[in-house]
């Protein structure tokens, strides 16, 4: 009875914890978007531009001195007057004192000031930059009035203030999790994993946002100095490490026990592990987090699951559209299944033949059959494509020689798909052949002798001895083959190029086109790539479960 109530208590704690985490994340998302937009110079400039006409008219009516007080409210320092001469060259009538103070120390800056004022007057009520400040101009009756702003670095912290909100959230979650500390060790693992993932998410997210902030033009977010970035990263890293350290030290699970007991071997693999973490996991995580952004014209905007909605549910509305997700997914699955079938059939047949002991010139045959796999598939794809050319390709020439008509391979979906298929089958069967050959060597010969003595036919031998013995060796190669064929970019892109009209594109070529042919929609493309990853991961997971179950039953 006690144990049951304990268990239910723990479950309740986890539930509240998850709810709290989700709430914090949503809250931070809202806060972040709001603060970045409002709490920066942007807000003030936005207001000034909106009200600038009123302000300037006030200046016309009440004179420069009175109006300049109004301008000071919006952090604009002072006014320069410019008069447009007849030859369209602006003559500068400065506020002498201000210019002196600005340009006294650096004489060469006066020409830069000239240029900034010129640009601003040219721009008509838009901003131009000068030495960390902004100049806003207003043109009326042949006169150009320019105003100079305060230094940007004062507002630097307010722009970054939004980041502090997110940091506070991280710290809050860690504190709350201490309160909700689950007694059960298994739940501790769950909790610490959630927090780790959240930290990684926040880390990459802030990288993207801050990195992007530097790319925005003057009217957007301002320049962020390196020192502030470093501060943030140090805080994140230290807090994560502290947290992990705290949890690990209190763990009594098998995991921590083995880690501590077998310190030295784990230290040996630490460099390799770091390498994998850097080269495999960080691009993977960055890609997943990038898929939560909408990237257009180089600007990154956080849109939660907007990309996934567009792909999965937007694609659902027009299911037969060749550029939609579901059609492409369907083609990819069919492509993979047909390819693997032929790879296996041809590869296994050739391997069985090559396995015969008395076959002459075995080595020459194996070299010939390895060639398709050995030559880089980029080159072979291009050569095959030229062979499928309607007028000059060798395949059509062969068909004409045999008395058939020329086929236009890439104007029809079926023939284009077949062209891709022939190329990939030619490329892919050596892999299966080599794997099968290797596995065949491991089948003991006395099994076949016993079978022959029992009167089994060749087919029965194949069915009852060869196939079951090959299965454990072939299963990993089939999984690999499926994953490689599912993502076979080179053949599809280079042979058919998705013709006609994108109907032979597979998921990975669609993802490529979104990133590099449609002006850099990296978020959308990353969402495609993440979906591919999830599909293949689920496939792998289910086949593992099935094969494990199968083994357990035996």
């Amino acid at each position: 009875m006690n144990k049951e109530s304990n268990n239910s208590k723990i479950k309740l704690n986890i539930f509240y914890f998850i709810v709290f985490t989700v709430f914090i994340i949503i809250l931070q998302g809202i806060l972040y978007n709001k603060t970045i937009k409002m709490n920066s110079l942007n807000k003030e400039l936005y207001l000034v531009k909106e009200n600038s006409n009123k302000l300037f008219q006030k200046m016309e009516v009440e004179g420069y001195k009175k109006a300049s007080l109004e301008f000071k409210k919006y952090h604009f320092e002072d006014v320069f007057y410019f008069k447009e001469a007849q030859d369209k060259r602006y003559q500068f009538i400065y506020n002498r004192d201000l210019v002196k103070s600005l340009t006294q120390k650096k004489l060469k800056e006066s020409s830069l000031l000239d240029k900034s004022i010129y640009d601003s007057c040219d721009n008509k009520n838009k901003l131009s930059e000068f030495n960390g400040k902004y100049i806003l101009s207003y043109i009326n009756k042949g006169k150009c009035y320019s105003f100079l702003t305060v230094k940007i670095s004062n507002t630097l912290n307010s722009g970054l203030g939004a980041i502090w909100y997110l940091l506070i959230g991280v710290i809050l979650i860690m504190l709350v999790s201490f309160i909700f500390i689950p007694k059960n060790n298994k739940n501790r693992v769950i909790v610490s994993t959630i927090i780790l993932l959240y930290n990684i998410f926040f880390f990459v997210y802030s990288l993207i946002i801050l990195g992007n902030a530097q790319n925005k033009n003057i009217e957007g977010i301002i320049n962020i100095t390196k020192s502030n970035l470093i501060q943030i990263f140090i805080i994140i890293i230290i807090s994560t490490l502290l947290f992990i350290g705290f949890y690990i030290s209190k763990f009594n699970t098998k995991l921590t026990n083995t880690l501590i007991k077998y310190k030295t071997p784990y230290l040996y693999i630490l460099p390799g592990g770091l390498g994998i973490a850097l080269l495999s996991f960080s691009p993977l995580f960055s890609g997943i987090i990038l898929s939560f952004f909408r990237v257009k014209y180089g600007e990154y905007n956080f849109i939660w699951f907007g990309n996934y909605y567009d792909i999965l549910i937007g694609g659902f509305k027009n299911i037969a559209n060749p550029e939609g997700f579901y059609y492409t997914f369907f083609i990819t699955v069919i492509w993979t299944l047909i390819n693997i079938f032929f790879h296996l059939a041809i590869g296994m047949s050739i391997a069985l033949v090559l396995n015969k002991k008395r076959l002459k010139f075995k080595k020459i045959y194996s070299i010939i059959f390895i060639i398709p796999w050995a030559i880089p598939n980029y080159i072979t794809a291009l050569i095959w494509k030229s062979m499928f050319h309607k007028q000059f390709g060798s395949i059509n020439n062969l068909l004409v020689f045999l008395g058939f008509e020329r086929i236009s391979w890439f104007t029809n979906t079926t023939t284009a798909f077949l062209a891709n298929l022939f190329t990939n089958i030619w490329l892919g069967f050596p892999f299966m052949m080599v794997m099968t050959l290797g596995a065949l060597q491991s089948i003991p010969a006395h099994l076949y002798d016993a079978a022959v003595m029992d009167g089994a036919t060749k087919w029965q031998q194949f069915k009852y001895i060869t196939l079951p013995m090959l299965k454990p060796a072939l299963l990993p190669s089939i999984i690999l083959g499926i994953i490689w064929t599912f993502n076979m970019f080179n053949v599809i892109y280079l042979v058919s190029g998705g013709e006609p009209n994108g109907s032979t594109d597979i998921l990975i070529t669609e993802a490529y086109r979104w990133a590099f042919e449609r002006n850099g929609r990296y978020g959308y493309s990353a969402a495609y790539a993440t979906i591919i990853f999830i599909v293949l991961y689920l496939y792998n997971y289910t086949t593992n479960k099935i094969s494990n179950r199968g083994e357990a039953n035996e």
């Binding site: 020409s111 050319h389 309607k390 890439f410 006609p500």
Partner: protein, 390 residues
């Protein structure tokens, strides 16, 4: 003692100039050597070091957008004009109106108008044009001595020669590539988009241009099928193709034995001159550069007459300076000059990049899959509008 002498010698040999200018470019081969020559001459005359860095063309844009906002970009860089819209919106490049104002504006009149206009985005000048590339007509002198002036002449010459020799073809150009179809598209007054982001590709001019391309490809029977650049090179080098319309880079791929000439693209008919796309290269200034005055001086040297001469002779570039095309006896120069005056600069708006693939697809649909022109253009229009709105 020895070590200190060595160090001293190293220090002396490494005398660095007080000022330096960093320039990024994507040139290879002859063009790169011409640029290096110009840089050396300028270094000697003006006592300022020019640091050249060659970057592969495909990675250029990404490297710029990553390094410039982080203050690690070059002072000046040379690139094509099609990304000006994107870069201007991101605030990476400097507006040059101020430096070429009034009397200084005379410098810009040295160049072809179309080349200068291609560097303007939203009424601001962002780069000085250096060179342009425009498709022209290459003809095999084995079959014809004087190039045709109209397409009717071209078709009749081709048919005549093809009757005599059944293995050759008359005309070849990449007809499913919108860059080359542009010569008909803009001749008939077709437009792609306007300032309000409206897609205008289903106009009458556009349809007429595709009708003409269809006529050339399917009815006259003088063109090979499924043309790629590899097909054009192979056929022309085997003397199996009389006329090729291709960019100036094609001349590097022609074998030495082939006797060929270059001419402007023939007129389509009485009212319509061919107006192909012109791809322009310019030199830009980084917005965050600290040596803008020196940069402007160098630009005036590189893009002016002296630099242009070296680039034209040593680098084989079609430079943007008008006065260097005065030699009427040089057929090649004359062809490029005439074509430059009748060409359409590639738009530098960020919208342009959405048009290439859908237009290529609609051309493929009409020319290879026999779909109606109207339907193909409307499908492309819907696709592009979807992309623009997302």
């Amino acid at each position: 003692m020895k070590i200190s002498i060595i160090l001293l010698l190293l220090a002396i040999s490494n005398i660095s100039f007080a000022k330096s200018l960093t320039l990024w470019h994507a040139y290879r081969g002859k063009e790169r050597k011409a640029l290096e020559k110009i840089a050396k001459i300028y270094e000697k005359e003006e006592n300022i070091k020019i640091n050249l860095l060659a970057i592969p063309y495909d990675a250029f844009d990404k490297k710029l957008t990553a390094s410039i906002p982080r203050m690690q970009g070059p002072d000046v860089f040379i690139f094509a004009n099609d990304k000006i819209g994107n870069w201007a919106e991101s605030g990476l490049i400097e507006t040059l109106n101020y430096y070429f104002y009034n009397k200084k504006r005379l410098f810009l009149t040295l160049m072809f108008d179309t080349t200068v206009n291609s560097m303007v985005y939203k009424n601001k000048l962002y780069a000085i044009p250096l060179a342009f590339k425009v498709p022209v007509l290459f003809y095999n002198k084995k079959y014809i001595k004087n190039p045709p002036k109209t397409f009717d002449d071209l078709i009749s010459i081709s048919k005549k020669e093809m009757l005599l020799n059944k293995k050759i073809f008359g005309l070849g150009y990449e007809n499913t590539n919108f860059f080359f179809h542009s010569m008909f598209y803009f001749a008939f007054g077709g437009k792609l988009f306007n300032n309000k982001k409206e897609v205008l590709i289903n106009s009458k001019g556009a349809m007429k241009s595709i009708e003409f391309a269809k006529f050339l490809a399917l009815k006259t029977k003088i063109m090979p099928e499924e043309i790629t650049s590899a097909v054009l090179t192979t056929l022309f080098n085997k003397n199996k193709l009389i006329f090729v319309i291709n960019g100036p880079w094609f001349s590097a791929e022609i074998d030495k034995e082939i006797n060929y000439g270059i001419a402007p693209i023939p007129d389509i008919d009485v009212g319509h001159k061919a107006k192909p796309y012109m791809s322009n290269e310019g030199i830009f200034i980084n917005k965050y550069s600290k040596n803008k005055k020196d940069a402007i001086k160098f630009i005036r040297f590189l893009a002016g007459i002296r630099g242009a001469k070296i680039r034209m002779i040593d680098g084989d570039q079609s430079v943007s300076v008008k006065s260097l095309y005065r030699n009427k006896n040089d057929e090649r120069l004359l062809a490029f000059k005439l074509q430059a005056e009748n060409s359409e600069p590639i738009s530098n708006s960020p919208l342009m990049s959405y048009f290439w693939a859908p237009m290529a697809q609609s051309l493929k649909k009409v020319l290879e899959q026999n779909i109606k022109i109207n339907k193909a253009l409307n499908d492309a229009k819907i696709k592009i509008e979807k992309l623009l709105s997302k």
